[in-house]
């Protein structure tokens, strides 16, 4: 396939499901009516750490309309992980459908299914629970200390992979690596920097909270209709947690109202299914927004100590990154998020010969961390992106020059790729396409960087400053994740494309239609995409790890190529010629020697009805041996109000290399959404806890995410490169953008005010106090 000469790919066609969504078609999990539906509610723990001494459901059971109440006594005691990862999961098996111990405020105690929500709520109030309260662990920095209560003291909790796991120390995961000699290099460095940074709790806030509906079909199979990013993992994990054979379970993924990682969790399907098993009835479980904040999943908070050495000429000599990560009460993604803090950040600076990384993930009695867009990179880029600004300012180095000199380039590798995998060794990798220097150059010009930096511009109370940061991410998990696609031809020369890959709003159905259409030389409208249903579509790990375009896209192209071959075989029979004489273009097959053609519709009719009848169809699977990073340069201008400490983003520019953008408009949309989420995280989003680990602000009233009027001017420039291993040269795009705002805004605040905020959010009170402390 020739580079940059596409018919359908690299064009901004409208989203295939766009019109259906904007006209309000019933596409989402809750948009179907089911007769006899029961409504589920969960009783949540009011304590951070406690044993259920006694639980009495007798009164609640007597409420008319209550159909089932489940406590730990009613469900199998099987430890599993809610992390929707491939098997064997590198997250500890430390979760039960229900347990007699509760480990955070918002942990499950019991579940009710009733004929209405009101009845279910009434029943919850009548469940009498006697708790024995235990001392909670609320500080991640001291969670491992001797004498601290053990959060997972149950015998079942374990890692199923041979990984470091020490529940007696509340240690959920550990990762480390080193290359070269950091201590020696630091000793010999002209400058040494040693700083501590923190990334804070946050929630994904998909507009559609978690929801699933479970029921038995006419064949007595369990149907799970769920708002999930990982339908195949849901099937496997629910099967395991409830001891049901996989063949008895079907998971249907309708349209998803946003995920951003929190729906990579098998969070509610297990308990909803358990209620259907108990009652035999359809059951719906839907989180309220408050529950989404408290009992769903969050960004893992991290404390990072970062030591770096640098010489006057700007050569980085050593990086020593030491992370303590808080996983909350359960260990979802405990290992892999912290590994990504290394593997998605450190290789960007591959000129450094001495690297050390040490990471501990600890349990606390606080809300549970999970996959969140950026996945460890967001946290670590806050540290790295600020440290580079600090270093450059101290040694008098132009940060633009620094990045262009130090960043990884085409054809280069990093020892980190091989040393930091996800539950096993990583995969050695050389960078294919890298447009980062170009991104930086374009950004500097477009943003007019040199006209703005170090200018200390003021207008009344407002002080202006600018900051920048450079980023990379990855594209899929190499040699672990697999995606498959199935394509079949219809009478009229159209095609069904069935995928396990999970469009959660990203537009993946659309870009896959474009890819298949490109190979089969048809219009994207001639590709009918369906994703995903574990009975109907082939396997795919699901939407995570920036994998969908790069990984599942590979499967789509392979399947389309196979179908194309079959089409040519049939056309050769029809045109009485050799395959080598044929060319597929514009939805027809042309014979060069005979100067004749047959249309795809002719081919379809011939193959289905005329001779040697067969279904033209193919399935293909794809794994990757690389995780080629997208790259991005972010530039931000902020205004700081010195009277109130309020920070406003004036303008935000991201210049991003995602290889070939299969659909540029959708790719830009990914960047813009990620950037605004990052800005909102940097400035306003925050979990506020009381002394017992209760979140005090579980509502959009008090947990502020940016609204239209808050949104600053955000601009995206895509810099095309061509990744040879990617589908039509594509890399990933969805996650990288969220990593920039936290460090870039901190750098801009420093540029404006000369104060350094190493812990977000950069709220007015924090900025105001920092300004006062400086005086």
């Amino acid at each position: 396939m020739s580079k940059n000469k596409f018919n359908v790919v690299n064009k901004s066609i409208p989203k295939v499901d766009g019109l259906s969504l904007v006209t309000g078609q019933p596409l989402f999990t809750d948009d179907i009516d089911i007769d006899g539906l029961l409504y589920a509610k969960i009783l949540w723990s009011p304590y951070p750490h406690a044993i259920i001494k006694n639980i009495d459901t007798s009164k609640a059971e007597k409420v008319p309309g209550v159909k089932a109440i489940l406590t730990y006594k009613d469900v199998p005691r099987i430890a599993f992980t809610t992390a929707g990862q491939g098997y064997p999961e590198p997250s500890p098996y430390d979760t039960f459908v229900l347990d007699k111990k509760v480990r955070f405020v918002g942990d499950r105690v019991a579940a009710v299914a009733a004929t209405s929500l009101e009845v279910a709520e009434e029943a919850l109030e009548l469940i009498k629970v006697e708790y024995e309260q235990l001392e909670p662990v609320l500080d991640m920095m001291t969670a491992q200390e001797k004498g601290k209560p053990i959060i997972h003291d149950e015998k079942e909790a374990r890692m199923i992979l041979p990984l470091h796991y020490d529940k007696k120390k509340n240690l959920a995961a550990h990762a480390e690596m080193s290359d070269g000699d950091v201590e020696e290099a630091l000793k010999n460095s002209e400058f040494i920097f040693d700083n501590e940074y923190e990334a804070h709790y946050a929630q994904h806030c998909p507009m559609e909270p978690h929801i699933c509906i479970t029921y038995f079909d006419a064949y007595n199979r369990l149907i799970i209709r769920s708002s999930t990013q990982v339908p195949f993992h849901v099937r496997r994990i629910v099967g395991m947690a409830l001891n049901i054979p996989v063949k008895k379970i079907r998971v249907i993924k309708p349209r998803i109202g946003g995920g951003f990682g929190c729906k990579q969790e098998v969070l509610i399907e297990d308990i909803c299914s358990a209620l259907t098993l108990k009652t035999g009835k359809p059951v719906k479980l839907e989180y309220m927004r408050k529950e989404e904040f408290i009992s769903s999943r969050t960004r893992h908070p991290q404390h990072i100590r970062l030591r770096t050495g640098i010489n006057k000429d700007g050569q980085l000599t050593a990086i020593d990154m030491n992370i303590v990560m808080n996983n909350g009460a359960y260990g979802a993604h405990a290992l892999t998020v912290i590994c990504n803090s290394a593997s998605k950040v450190l290789p960007l600076f591959n000129k450094v010969k001495n690297i050390k990384f040490y990471g501990d993930t600890v349990y606390t009695n606080l809300p549970v961390g999970g996959a969140y867009r950026g996945y460890g990179a967001t946290q670590a880029y806050n540290a790295m992106g600020q440290q580079i600004d600090i270093m450059c300012r101290t040694i008098g180095m132009d940060i633009i020059k620094f990045y262009k000199m130090q960043h990884i380039k085409e054809g280069e590798g990093s020892p980190v790729f091989q040393k930091m995998g996800e539950g096993k060794e990583g995969v050695e990798m050389k960078i294919g396409a890298c447009g980062l220097s170009k991104c930086i150059d374009i950004g500097v010009k477009e943003f007019r960087w040199y006209e703005k930096v170090n200018k200390k511009r003021k207008e009344g109370n407002w002080h202006y400053g600018v900051g920048m940061v450079c980023l990379m991410q990855g594209s899929s998990i190499p040699e672990i994740d697999m995606g498959a696609a199935f394509i079949k031809m219809n009478d009229d020369g159209s095609f069904n494309l069935l995928l396990g890959a999970t469009d959660i709003g990203t537009g993946s159905d659309t870009i896959f239609a474009q890819m298949a259409a490109e190979v089969l030389t048809v219009k994207p409208q001639d590709i009918i995409v369906y994703s995903s249903d574990t009975d109907m579509t082939p396997f795919d790990v699901g939407a995570y790890a920036s994998s969908t375009t790069y990984l599942s896209g590979g499967a789509v192209i392979k399947a389309a190529e196979k179908v194309k071959e079959q089409i040519l075989e049939v056309a050769a029979q029809m045109l009485k010629t050799e395959i080598g004489d044929l060319e597929l273009k514009n939805a027809s097959v042309f014979s060069k020697s005979k100067k004749k053609k047959v249309t795809l519709k002719d081919v379809a009719y011939y193959s289905l009805y005329e001779k040697n009848q067969h279904q033209i169809a193919a399935v293909a699977s794809h794994i990757t041996h690389k995780s080629p990073p997208p790259f991005s340069a972010h530039f931000v201008e902020v205004a700081v109000d010195i009277e109130t400490g309020l920070v406003k983003v004036v303008e935000y520019l991201n210049v991003t290399d995602c290889g070939t953008a299969i659909n540029p408009k959708l790719a830009e949309g990914q960047c813009e959404g990620a950037v605004l989420n990052g800005i909102s995280y940097a400035l306003t989003e925050e979990y506020i806890f009381d002394s017992q680990g209760r979140m005090l602000n579980p509502s959009f009233n008090n947990y502020k995410i940016f609204s239209p009027a808050d949104a600053p001017k955000i601009k995206t420039i895509l810099v095309p490169t061509y990744e040879d291993t990617g589908p039509f040269g594509a890399k990933s795009i969805s996650e990288i953008g969220i990593n920039g705002p936290l460090p870039a805004i901190a750098n801009a605040i420093y540029d404006a005010m000369g104060v350094r905020l190493k812990k977000g959010p950069y709220s007015p009170e924090k900025v105001y106090m920092a300004l006062n402390n400086k005086k």
Binding site: V22, T23, P708
Partner: protein, 156 residues
């Protein structure tokens, strides 16, 4: 159950609702599934419908209170075959990602255009400020509304 008469999308309807039922639930129960629930407490805008041409969070209104009133939902302003310019333009602009908040956003924008057919970007942002979105960063949604304004100016 209480019987109420209400006009929904220019059609007279008789609904049976519970005294404490929220309008969003009643509408969804009667098949208007385009109205979404995102917070159920008036903070996200996914459930915005028009009540007598004014945008309201239908999770904050009790269904019996709309007796003899006029409701407009996303289903009432355009269809797959004949979408409203707003619906069309937001798709063209790339302003729909997951699409869960989009109906509410469109209803707020639609209400704005009813009283102000030539809004500025700032006015669009203010009018849709109650419609939270986590996917798009709002950039292409606002572009979509501006595009629709242009289309409608063309006499459509």
């Amino acid at each position: 159950m209480i019987k109420i008469n209400v006009t929904i999308n220019n059609e007279k309807k008789e609904l049976e609702v519970k005294p404490y039922e929220k309008l969003v639930d009643a509408l969804r129960r009667y098949g208007y599934k385009g109205t979404k629930k995102g917070c159920y407490e008036g903070t996200c805008g996914a459930c915005v419908v028009l009540l007598n041409n004014k945008p309201v969070n239908s999770c904050l209104i009790l269904a019996p209170a709309v007796e003899n009133q006029q409701i407009t939902t996303i289903e009432g302003i355009g269809t797959m075959n004949k979408p409203h310019p707003l619906q069309e333009s937001i798709v063209e602009a790339g302003g729909v990602q997951c699409g869960y908040c989009t109906p509410g956003f469109i209803m707020s924008a639609y209400a704005l255009l009813l009283k102000n057919p030539e809004p500025t970007e700032e006015e669009i942002k203010r009018a849709t400020d109650g419609n939270l979105c986590r996917c798009t960063g709002y950039v292409k949604k606002i572009e979509g509304v501006l595009k629709a304004v242009e289309k409608m100016r063309g006499g459509k």
